[in-house]
Symmetry: C2
Subunit: 475 residues, 2 copies
């Protein structure tokens, strides 16, 4: 195969290449059939039922059968209409042939969900090299192989299989958080958690072996769409400089959890998506330099983004702890001691204002108060957040179940007006509050640890943006 004219276009790859992965007018699913447990059929079903995709879907299978609303055909040649995107979920061995057909036909976006490539030894590596070569020749962009594909809530497109239940819930809550995940399993976890913790998802992409499209391409793309927070799970980084360039370019927070911290973890990752995981200290240094917020647990992928989308950034490190239990005051102070945040020191005036409020046990920091009516809580928030002595609040309080939702909602509004965040947690009315998290989109955290981490990462993003801020005018 000689150098193709497309090769030149290919050099100018960019953000525009990504659009049809998420917003195709038509899609063909290779390998979708009516056989039992057929994964392609699950995709057709998800398109029809879970997201009610408005575009045209074709299913290619040997019988040419229609599959769950998708128009059946025996080969690509049978489709006369334009095709924006090909999704391939067939045995690996036939995929090079399919890519060739897609390329010749002018399809420029292909998602390969099948496994059996570089994660599967020498044989698989050869196969992956072959599709790489073809992709370059035809100037195709490929997501995968060995991945779960794409979900776009805003444009109602989904080619993930086995996630119908989750997608049906997520699609009802479009929002500003986008995910780039180098693992279908992690996508399942995040999706499962998001059924309860409804952040509002914009897009989710599983990138698998990332033979072509990688996290950097997608960060660039998410910098141009309605995404407000970018969350990433990685097992390896193939092009560190490109990743750093992409992260440095965006002002949106980029949260990354990377597995393979330990040697055993790296060995395990190798057998999964087949990339060499880098030395962890090197990656850590790169994160600090590029402004990547490195997560400490997979759970933080769903837990922390709400702090960015629903609360102003933390623009200083002085934290007031508010509690209705001395125990949690003590726990809060302990947790803050492990961060670069500090317990705010209150002036005599603030202390005396607080101590005049009935029920206040402790007018220093942590502020500790007994059971009280809602207006008392709000008065304390007002004193703390307008004092000029506090940059943010750690809210570890228990409250009467009847009004905890309303108080939290009022506090969120107040925080936004004051441009100072509070990390919300309540130890005694979790059930009520988790319900409110869903219904009223309250940024409530599940543990005190999560709440403290939320303040920590918010401050990290603030410091990063502050440092990179350019002068308003350059002569």
């Amino acid at each position: 195969m000689s150098m193709s004219p497309a090769m030149k276009i290919h050099e100018a790859r960019g953000v525009s290449d990504m659009e049809k992965f998420f917003n195709p007018s038509s899609v063909v699913i290779f390998g979708a059939s009516n056989a039992k447990f057929n994964l392609g059929a699950m995709i057709c079903k998800a398109l029809r039922d879970a997201v009610q995709y408005p575009g045209q879907v074709y299913a290619v299978n040997s019988a040419g059968d229609d599959v769950a609303g998708a128009k059946g055909c025996q080969a690509l040649e049978d489709i006369r209409e334009d095709i924006d995107l090909a999704v391939i979920i067939t045995p690996a061995s036939v995929i090079p042939g399919l890519i060739q057909k897609c390329g010749a036909r002018g399809i420029r976006n292909v998602i390969i969900e099948s496994s059996g490539f570089s994660e599967k030894g020498e044989e698989g590596r050869k196969l992956q090299n072959e599709i790489d070569r073809l992709a370059r020749f035809y100037a195709l962009r490929i997501i995968g192989p060995n991945c779960l594909g794409v979900l776009d809530i805003e444009r109602r497109f989904c080619c993930m299989y086995g996630a119908e239940e989750i997608v049906s819930v997520l699609v009802r809550h479009p929002g500003p958080v986008s995910y780039i995940l180098q693992s279908g399993g992690v996508a399942e976890l995040v999706g499962e958690r998001l059924m309860d913790d409804r952040l509002g998802v914009n897009k989710m992409v599983c990138i698998g072996n990332k033979s072509d499209v990688n996290e950097a391409d997608l960060i660039d793309y998410f910098d141009t769409d309605h995404t407000e927070v970018i969350c990433v799970y990685l097992e390896n980084v193939k092009d560190g400089r490109k990743l750093m360039r992409a992260v440095k370019k965006t002002r949106k927070p980029v949260l990354v959890y990377k597995s393979g911290k330990s040697e055993a973890g790296r060995a395990a990752a190798l057998s999964h998506t087949a990339g060499m995981a880098q030395n962890d200290a090197v990656f850590d240094g790169a994160c600090r330099q590029a402004g990547i917020i490195r997560l400490q647990s997979i759970e933080e992928l769903h837990a922390l983004p709400k702090m960015f989308t629903r609360m102003p950034l933390l623009s200083g490190n002085r934290i007031a702890v508010f509690t209705t239990s001395g125990a949690f005051g003590s726990v809060g102070a302990d947790l803050l001691a492990g961060t670069n945040l500090v317990m705010a020191e209150f002036s005599d005036e603030t202390k005396s204002r607080l101590s005049r409020i009935p029920g206040v046990f402790n007018a220093a920091n942590p502020v500790d108060i007994g059971p009280a009516p809602p207006e008392i809580y709000l008065e304390i928030y007002n004193i703390l957040l307008t004092s000029g002595e506090v940059d943010g609040m750690l809210h570890l309080a228990g409250m009467w179940r009847d009004f905890v939702q309303d108080v939290m909602q009022a506090l969120v509004g107040f925080c936004r007006r004051q441009r100072k965040p509070a990390a919300l947690y309540a130890y005694n009315s979790m059930g009520k509050l988790l319900a409110a998290r869903q219904e009223k989109e309250l940024p409530v955290f599940y543990t005190a640890e999560e709440a403290v981490r939320a303040l920590e990462v918010s401050y990290q993003q603030y410091l990063y943006l502050d440092k990179k801020e350019e002068p308003l005018w350059k002569p």
Copy 2:
């Protein structure tokens, strides 16, 4: 007041003193009235409605009114029947007088829930000294002051206020886990979590300022009852040697979370339950010596006990990671690398047995397999746990929702028969599994981190018991 004859009896305090705090035939509530928001009335209501306490309840209030099923009277003198226990929830100032009356009447067990004692400065300290003196004079045992009191699920007694909803759920699931909590707020958190994570509670005691009865007394007592795991939240330790003696005496696991690790945390604790929190390193050393399992988060108070009650102890450090997602294999290996547990090394025979199973991607550790039917999973568990190369399993797998509960249940039974534990976690069917956690009492963990901690503490307890094991026969 001179030395009383009771003083001598008092010297021989012991476990038998505790019995009537939990299992009284009759109880008087000082301060229970029909006033709005009256806390004593909440206790009367909890006794009648939430636990359906079978004993006799008296409510002492100035009007002598009956309160929520409790027989009303104006003073203790009006009650002619025997009284086993007095619960006091009146203003602090009148409490010394009440103690005197209780003492004279022969009541030997008093729970003081009111605040306003040593946590409230000089005045309060004096008041607490006064009740201490009276308690010694009358050989009374006191729980509190400044506490939420006691819950006994087995004997259906409860004098906690404001927890009716939680107690109504807990009472339906009696079990082997008992709690000693130096904070009502922590009791509320633990109770709230246990509504979902039904461990089966035996008893719960809030000890507040612990002027008399402390954690050591209760550990001694829980060593004699149906408790199997003892969970403790502490802000300070008043008598370290007594605590260590109590823990060393029991073979039951004692799990302790102590706040006040940092200086700021200790300062906060001081304003709460008024004990001086000790240097953290000293406490840590004492824990190691006595065999206390020190918890890393308040959440572990409810998360970890199930590993002791539903699974055999981990008797070696070789862990097999089982997963259906390479990502979680890598995460599991990373998490184990932070503990004294190791990734088990499989013999060639074990690897070859595993690799013969259809769908197995990786026959080394972590074992990674694609979607499979239940019998395949069970075959792998069998190979791993009978190999002689594995002491326990970290189960980080996603499964088809339809059978995940059944597979987990079968695995629990198999673990018990093999006397090797598995820490259970599933990333893709959390909802189903958390439901099963309730219905089928499956020891399922909420995060991968929790699952790894469960193995870690199980092994810690095994090592401790192993070390303290005495010879079967002493000449």
